[in-house]
Structure formats: structure tokens, C-alpha cells
Symmetry: C2
Subunit: 209 residues, 2 copies
DNA sequence: ATTTTTATGATACAAGTGTACCATGAAAAA
DNA sequence: TTTTTCATGGTACACTTGTATCATAAAAAT
């Protein structure tokens, strides 16, 4: 092999340009040529590293999924050792709501893919549903853990509440995106909703009273 | 004027073809020519009645908004005279969730436009936010009415709860669309959520405690 | 009966699209 | 040193796109 170039690095560099363009012009408006131009390379190279446009779009979605997973892991990892489940979930809200530029980008990207996946057979449905499903299980597991620690009402059906939570996250996220409500308000509403799930009576859950 | 053709009828006929194509191929894939073919007319006529493609897309969104308003009015109007606020809201859920074909179409269309509006300057943001905003006020007003009738907890901040409700409707709707959860489950979750807002203790709310 | 207006058809045009193909420098393998 | 393999450039092809233009049947207005 000659030039010994790092394919993975090359690919993620191109995907960076891809994401930039999707955010700016919309997923539908991105072309092989525009990606090449944005990445500062030739059209031929975009073909070389992704073969087809469908490949590029699929890789874009896969990368989106991976990146968001990593960010979430990192944020949870950065939490203090003795954090409550409540605090962990709050961190998820901050991460998932489109409050900052990164959050807006993610929401836009994901929703665009969700819409595209509804009509485009080149985007398999499982690629869309996979991420939310993982998140769903994770939230349910957190709620269950919170239940056993006495943070949340023991009567709750954690699976149901998890669905409601991620539905609420996405729905409020969309409300923020279109400018119906601000990110701050959405976050506050999400937290108040979570407060409703708290264990009844007793200010400190760890002290049984 | 010669042929004396009904422009409005013509336009809504073409918009019907437009919607059919958006649902089948996605908003991004609809072209002037495909709309013409689907409507069984010539390309020239699509131009004639909508001038430009931007005009077609804007009219599509406007029609979507109008149709959904009308459907909602009709459903509420069809409710029995003595319906509770709770029942009215339940009717909204059934109408808004993508449970049947029509519901799925609406959710897909609206979300596609919301995504498009994020990057396309030809779709003014107010056209996107207008519908949700009207719905928001309506739900808030219903909740308030329900409060004064004793159906809902008097302590509730109805405006906040309205935002949570429409966020939940949209979020769960998306969950149904991508196949994360079924429409039945989503509806059940929405209703249980509404139950949480019920007035505490007291079987007959109209009799004070 | 002539003129004007309306509704429609056909088509041309420039731009942009994804993909395929051919060429080539350079580095590793032989 | 020759040969093979990899990374890249350039470009051509067949389509599709939105829009503009020219033409015309027919009906209303004059």
C-alpha cells in the first residue's frame, strides 16, 4: 500500500463536512459535490470513501448515533460519584434538549433522518429506532434504580414512565426547535415532570420517615 | 373570462396529488412534474396554478394546517353535548396521534415541514409555529375550563401543563411513527398522564369537598 | 364580428444530480 | 528495478430539476 492514509479519519473528516451541510442546507439539499467542496477534496474522493450517496447518508446516521452515545457516556461519567438518579436524568435532559448549538444540531439531524426513513427505503427502519430504543431501556433502568433507592414512587411502572419521558424529551425538543418555547422553559417543565414521579412524603428519600 | 374554471377547486385537486406524493416519496422528492403526472395534468398547469415550487410547498403547508383545524373542529363538534373536558382532550389525543392512516400522514407531513422550515428560508417560521401555538392556547383554555369545573387540580399551572401535553403528543407520535411503540400504548400513556392532572380527593368535584 | 382574456399545451434551456470511467503519481512488494 | 496496489484527479454521460417562452383553443367582452 502506498500513501498509507487513515481511512477512518478520512471518512469522519468527510462526515464532518456532511453534517455541516445538513445543518446549514438540510438533509435533502446535500450533494456529493457540495460535501466534496465543503471538505476541500475532489468529488472522486467522496465516491472513493463512501461509494454511493446512500452509503454517505447511512454513514452519517451511524456516526450521529455513535457521537450521541459517546457524549452521553461522557456526561454521565463526568458526574460526581455520589450523584442521585434524579441528577443523572437531569443531565440527560440537558444533553438531549436542543438548548445549545450542538443540541440543536443533533435534534435537527435526527428528526431529518426520522422523516427521511419514513419514505426512503435506503434508510432501514432499525437504524432509526435503534438509538431511541437503547435510550428507552437506559432510562427505564435508571428509573428502576431510583425506585429501589427510594427516590421514585415504588408504584410507578418504570417502562411506561420511561416512554413518557423520552416522548416528552423529543416533543419538547421540537417545541424548542420551532421556537414555540425556549430551552429554559422546556428544561424546567421536564424537571417538574420528573418531580411528579418522586416518592410520596419524606423530604430525604434515604432517610425513611 | 373563457372556460370559467374553479381555481380553488383546481388548486386543492393539485394539492391532493401533492400530498399523496409527499406521503409516498417524501417532501424532498416531490417535483413539479411528478405532481403534474399524479394529478393527470400537464406541467404547465402546475406552474399556472402555483407559479413556483416554493408556492406549491407553501400552499401545501397552509392546506395541511387548514385541514387539521377543520378535522379537529368537526370531531369536537361531534362530541355529545354534555362531554367533560377530559373527554374532549381524549378526543384530541385520538385525533392527533398517528394511529390511523390519516393520522400518520398528518404527522409525517407536519414533521417534514418542521424539518424543512429549519433550513429553508422559503418556509417562514411563523407558518410552522402558528398551528402548534393555536393548539397550545386551545389546550390551555380547555385545562382551565376543566379546572373551574373541578375536573382538574386547581393548583395546576395550566399553561405549563398544556405545553407538556402537546409536547407529549408530538413526542409519543414520533415514537409511534418510527415503530418504537404502538398507537394503543401511546394513547394509554397519554390518558394516564392526563389522569395525573385530576383533582385530588372528592368524588364529585362540583361539590366542594 | 372583432378583440381581449383565460386556460392549457408543448417545449426549450441552463443548471445540477449521481455514477462510471480513465488516467496517474507514488509508495510498497517482488 | 520492476510490478502491483492504493489514493487521487478529471471528466463524461444520462437524467432530472425549476423556470421561461411561444403557441393556441375557446369563451367572454366589445
Amino acid at each position: 500500500m502506498p500513501k498509507t492514509v487513515d481511512h477512518d479519519e478520512r471518512r469522519s473528516m468527510i462526515l464532518g463536512a456532511f453534517v455541516t451541510l445538513v445543518v446549514r442546507d438540510g438533509l435533502h439539499a446535500v450533494s456529493m459535490r457540495s460535501v466534496a467542496a465543503e471538505a476541500g477534496i475532489s468529488l472522486r474522493l467522496v465516491q472513493y470513501y463512501f461509494k454511493t450517496k446512500a452509503g454517505l447518508k447511512q454513514s452519517g446516521l451511524a456516526m450521529l448515533e455513535k457521537l450521541s452515545s459517546e457524549r452521553w457516556e461522557k456526561r454521565v461519567g463526568g458526574l460526581p460519584e455520589a450523584s442521585t438518579v434524579m441528577e443523572t436524568l437531569r443531565a440527560l435532559f440537558v444533553e438531549a434538549l436542543p438548548t445549545d448549538k450542538q443540541g440543536r444540531e443533533f435534534h435537527l439531524l435526527w428528526t431529518a433522518y426520522a422523516v427521511l426513513g419514513e419514505t426512503d427505503p435506503e434508510i432501514p427502519n432499525r437504524m432509526i429506532v435503534e438509538g431511541p430504543h437503547r435510550l428507552l431501556r437506559r432510562v427505564a433502568s435508571l428509573l428502576k434504580q431510583g425506585q429501589s433507592l427510594g427516590e421514585f414512587d415504588a408504584e410507578l411502572d418504570v417502562d411506561s414512565e420511561a416512554v413518557v419521558l423520552i416522548g416528552l424529551i423529543h416533543g419538547l425538543g421540537t417545541a424548542v426547535m420551532i421556537g414555540l418555547k425556549s430551552g429554559d422553559v422546556a428544561l424546567k417543565l421536564l424537571i417538574s415532570h420528573l418531580d411528579r414521579l418522586r416518592a410520596p412524603r419524606g423530604p430525604d428519600p434515604r432517610v425513611l420517615r
